[in-house]
């Protein structure tokens, strides 16, 4: 396989995952705005921080935060490289580049994703259309994933696509924790206060896991359990442990396919082992925030190493 093709697959699925995660973050932000009276500026700022689009926004809007502007920036602003519209277009351009590696079904799903979102996001989205548009974004990305699962051979092509997905997803979950870690700390506020409850719900909503959490841990969310769920729980498809284990496994398939062990395999195994051997108590003892920041750094390094080892670029 061409190195460029491996890179194209990796980025195609990173961008699709990103578009979906952005839609979820906006949904969580809207929800918290509904349950809160008074200013919600802080919440929108933290939403943008999580999506890593705050700096660009501040430049574009002189630091003036309004709900409508934030949503427009995140959904459709061409100057925001991570806006849903840009992410979906980058995903499709990558798909075009790697067209020969994709099945017709996967190509058509991503092409349709681009066509329908381009038209849904052609103009500023009216408030009443927002829920539908956000749902459409998640749905379109899910169609592509479905086509990938249902029609692609389990070979190197598939593995690079999956590695891209989980690299982006791990980054996203870690960022949510990075921005919101303080609401999970025991010292933050009286445990069980209504504010914390809303914040905790927001975190779970940002990863579409309210139901899953309830199923696994019962009705009353406790901060330590939420952290456990998002960091270490390997049943949870967006947890750090789940994502890193998937990356390790997909890299492992590549290693046996190509019969070559590369530095990225060492990195992935080290990272997977770390999460496997940690307990949530240890993480809180050594510092939740430090743990998350270290993970973000390691995950980014792993991505770069994969890019080098598999020759994505010259």
């Amino acid at each position: 396989m061409l190195g460029k093709t491996a890179g194209g697959l990796f980025w195609m699925f990173r961008y699709l995952e990103r578009s979906e995660n952005t839609a979820r973050l906006i949904e969580a932000g809207l929800r918290i705005a509904l349950t809160r009276s008074g200013s919600t500026d802080e919440e929108w700022i933290s939403v943008m921080q999580t999506a890593a689009v705050l700096d660009g926004y501040n430049v574009a809007y002189d630091g003036v935060v309004t709900r409508d502007q934030v949503i427009d920036w995140m959904l459709r602003d061409r100057d925001n490289p991570s806006s849903v519209l840009n992410a979906v277009e980058y995903a499709r351009n990558n798909a075009k580049t790697v067209r020969t590696a994709l099945t017709r079904e996967v190509w058509e799903a991503v092409n349709e994703c681009w066509m329908s979102l381009k038209s849904a996001l052609a103009r500023k989205v009216a408030e009443r259309d927002l829920p539908h548009v956000l749902q459409l974004i998640r749905q379109r990305s899910a169609y592509v994933r479905g086509a990938l699962h249902g029609t692609m051979l389990r070979n190197d092509i598939y593995n690079f696509a999956r590695i891209g997905t989980f690299s982006e997803r791990a980054d996203n979950t870690a960022r949510i924790l990075d921005v919101k870690y303080y609401v999970l700390l025991p010292s933050a506020m009286a445990v069980g206060s209504s504010l914390d409850n809303v914040q905790w719900q927001t975190i779970l909503r940002s990863v579409s896991a309210e139901g899953g959490f309830q199923m696994a841990y019962g009705q009353d969310p406790r901060p330590r359990e939420i952290a456990q769920f998002l960091i270490l729980d390997r049943r949870m498809p967006r947890s750090l442990a789940f994502c890193i284990e998937k990356m390790r496994a997909n890299l492992g398939y590549l290693m046996s396919d190509y019969q070559t062990r590369l530095p990225c395999h060492d990195l992935a195994e080290k990272l997977a082992l770390q999460t496997m051997q940690s307990s949530i108590d240890e993480i809180f003892d050594t510092g939740l925030h430090e743990y998350i920041q270290l993970f973000l750094k390691d995950n980014a390094l792993l991505g770069q190493q994969i890019e080098v080892d598999y020759r994505f670029t010259q």
Binding site: G3, R104, W107
Partner: protein
């Protein structure tokens, strides 16, 4: 009954391939189609037409329009009425095409070696030496298997039942074959019943034949399973869809310049497991951009040093660099001589009579008759930079006259032929529109394969003669019936 369905002809004496010169006949190849069409509900057909377009858009069969916004992608309109050619008509055509393609390859070999045709006084020396399409770097280079033009598209027009003319030869990187294939797929999906009633020769094995034909031209030293790749300028190129389509169907890698480099005297592609040598490169990048070390130094699309590897026999480039000298519009006018010179036979296919404006007598004639003639730039393509006298305004003609006087050798002129029409399906039924035909030819060291039919392009505007997709042309499925 026909008259109600078929728009009346705007001019007499135009040959319609379905209804003949007077529009009151149904020619034999169309009998079955006509019977089927008569029994169809127009509303159903209109729905089918829309379905076809949705299908094309979903599949991504689009082309990028130059000079518009970067993301501008358009569909080439597809018309559901097939263009039908009888087996007998095709047999004669394909003999003529094969003869012409053989001559083109012999001509290219000669031009880049001893230039016998010039020595024999059949072609003026300056037609070669002063021609921008002539590549001095190719002098003395003999491509593997003796093949210069692995893929050729011959553009034909028709004026009567047995009158076909070659409008131009495409010996560089002819495009459109993916439309030929997708058009057939679409028709098979939409109207399977039509193919049950008509025995239409298949086209679907083109990619397989292309791969075989490319592999057959691999450099002598390579293994028995040569590595083939398609070189594209990238996703923003107008024909990118076709590049990825062909690579996909052939099961070979689609590469760009930045995927390639010269490693140990071979051109190699960067794979996830290191550099891997390529034996045959089907390039869809122009000569100028192929090698920044040997041609345009600013090119980002090519591979530095590929020409040196090529000359040393380390890679086959298809089509060979420098083939443009054979499809140049000034050379075109010599084609009947060229065919005769190399095959020893009269050309089976006619050329359109052509005035070379570089010759004073011809220029004088052309200037006197501008309103009757089509004047083309010698190096132009895609229907740009031409004057269609009969439909041009007085102002256009005068503007063109000045350009022509300034650089006469830059132009050729041809009479306007009364091009044949084939009906298209419109809101008010069938309506005749002018068409051309581009059959695709594959050349191997030991054989020439012509896919039955080819790409029919159709001018969708009433009376228009311009079939180019960049200027509002559409396409049709092209049938050759089994005899």
């Amino acid at each position: 009954m026909l008259a109600s369905k078929i728009e009346t002809m705007e001019k007499p004496n135009i040959f319609d391939e379905m209804t003949g010169v007077n529009g009151d006949d149904i020619r034999a190849p169309y009998t079955d189609f006509n019977a089927w069409f008569d029994g169809e509900e127009p509303a159903r057909l209109r729905k089918k037409q829309r379905e076809a377009e949705d299908l094309f858009r979903l599949t991504g069969i689009t082309f990028n329009v130059y000079g518009r916004a970067a993301a501008s992608e358009r569909l080439i309109p597809f018309d559901i009425v097939p263009r039908v050619i009888s087996g007998r008509e095709w047999a004669r055509l394909s003999r003529g095409i094969e003869q012409r393609v053989r001559a083109i390859n012999a001509f290219l070999y000669d031009i880049y070696h001893r230039q016998e045709i010039v020595r024999a006084g059949r072609l003026p020396a300056e037609m070669i030496s002063k021609n921008a399409a002539f590549l001095p770097q190719m002098m003395g280079v003999s491509p593997a298997g003796g093949v210069y033009t692995h893929i050729v598209g011959i553009d034909l027009v028709r004026t009567g039942p047995d009158e076909f003319y070659v409008l131009e030869d495409n010996a560089r990187t002819p495009s459109g074959v993916s439309y030929m294939l997708e058009n057939r797929e679409t028709m098979l999906q939409m109207f399977p019943e039509l193919f049950a009633r008509n025995r239409v020769l298949p086209v679907s094995n083109y990619p397989k034949m292309l791969r075989r034909s490319l592999a057959a031209c691999a450099p002598a030293a390579t293994s028995d399973k040569p590595t083939v790749a398609v070189l594209t300028p990238g996703i923003y190129n107008s024909a990118y869809y076709e590049h990825s389509f062909l690579a996909d169907k052939m099961g070979v890698e689609l590469v760009e310049g930045h995927d390639l480099r010269v490693v140990d005297g071979r051109v190699a592609m960067r794979t996830t497991e290191g550099y891997k040598a390529i034996d045959v490169l089907y390039r869809r990048v122009d000569d100028d951009y192929l090698d920044p070390l040997n041609f345009n130094p600013d090119s980002q699309l090519g591979v530095p040093g590929i020409m040196d590897v090529y000359k040393a026999g380390g890679i086959t480039i298809a089509n060979a660099p420098g083939t443009g000298i054979a499809d140049d519009k000034a050379i075109y006018s010599y084609m009947p001589d060229i065919v005769e010179f190399y095959t020893g036979e009269k050309a089976i296919l006619q050329n359109v009579p052509t005035w070379r404006c570089s010759e004073p007598d011809s220029l004088a004639y052309v200037l006197d008759n501008l309103s009757e003639l089509v004047v083309k730039e010698v190096h132009g393509s895609g229907g740009y930079g031409m004057l269609i006298g009969p439909t041009a305004t007085k102002k256009d003609i005068e503007t063109f006259r000045r350009k022509l006087k300034l650089r006469p050798s830059n132009y050729i002129a041809q009479p306007t032929l009364s091009l044949s029409t084939v009906p298209i399906f419109t809101r008010s039924g069938l309506a005749p529109r002018h068409v051309d035909l581009r059959p695709f030819v594959l050349v191997s060291p030991d054989r020439i394969d012509i896919t039955p039919g080819g790409l029919t392009r159709v001018a969708l505007k009433k009376g228009s003669l311009v079939v180019n997709s960049s200027q509002g042309g559409g396409t049709k499925d092209t049938w050759v019936l089994e005899e």
